[in-house]
């Protein structure tokens, strides 16, 4: 992992198109601003992981039996 030390107001540039700026430093947290092209999606890691996990669980779904299907929205 690359490690940088940055001050408030300073930035990092990733590739040609992504810029990450340190907006504020609190006690125990840091506020980041991200400029990225719109096709790059940016998510909190734990939120993105929860969607990954759910998609993997969903891909192992069983097709519900007919009587269950009738109950759904029934």
């Amino acid at each position: 992992m690359l490690v940088f030390t940055r001050k408030k107001g300073e930035s990092l540039v990733i590739g040609n198109e992504i810029e990450v700026t340190i907006l504020n430093l609190g006690s125990g947290n840091v506020k980041l601003g991200i400029n990225a092209p719109r096709h790059i999606s940016v998510h909190r890691q734990e939120v993105y992981e929860s969607i990954k996990r759910e998609n993997l669980a969903a891909s192992r779904s069983q097709i519900p039996a007919a009587d269950i299907l009738k109950k759904i929205l029934g």
Binding site: R38, H39, S41, H43, R44, V47, Y48, S50, I51, K52, R53, E54, N55, L56, A57, A58, S59, S61, Q62, I63, P64, A65, A66, I68, L69, K71, I72, L73
Partner: protein, 153 residues
């Protein structure tokens, strides 16, 4: 006269199926957890209602049970940002179809639906993407059946 091109795919649950080329949906980014699956098709079967099947056309074969989220929560709403809409290349909701991904475990009474991360398809250019609704209260695991409907009360 041109014949419609079709793609023959092998599905886990429905055997071999022919997909007409004009039914293929393109997911540029894949789905979270499935970054290498870019081509999908929505398959509808009478005995699967109210679900449909979002079948991946790339290997390895995977498929998802999907449902219209507005059937689950009538007042469901998603506020997509301008960049999101730009990514979909459409601002016209009439051109879009929204799907929520269902998870049906071995005990089907515990079935849930992911209302936090809907899949939106632009029917006009047949592109799709799964969005994360960061500012919403919707659950990743919204129950599909009320507990009182369960087999053991």
């Amino acid at each position: 006269m041109d014949e419609t091109q079709t793609l023959l795919i092998r599905t886990i649950s429905f055997g071999e199926i022919e997909i007409p080329e004009n039914k293929i949906l393109y997911f540029k980014e894949g789905l979270p957890g499935f970054p290498n699956h870019h081509r999908f098709a929505v398959l509808a079967f009478d005995d699967l209602k109210p679900f449909e099947y979002l079948q991946a056309l790339d290997e390895p074969p995977v498929a998802f049970l999907v449902i219209d989220p507005f059937l689950v929560v009538a007042e469901y709403r998603m506020d997509l940002s301008e960049p999101d809409l730009a990514d979909l290349a459409s601002t016209d909701s009439a051109e879009m179809t929204v799907y929520a991904v269902a998870t049906v475990p071995e005990d089907p009474w515990k079935a849930t639906v992911n209302l936090f991360a809907p899949i939106v398809v632009n029917e006009k250019n047949r592109s799709g993407r799964q969005f994360l609704l960061h500012d919403s209260e919707y659950s990743v695991k919204h129950p599909l059946l009320k507990p009182s409907e369960g087999s053991d009360g």
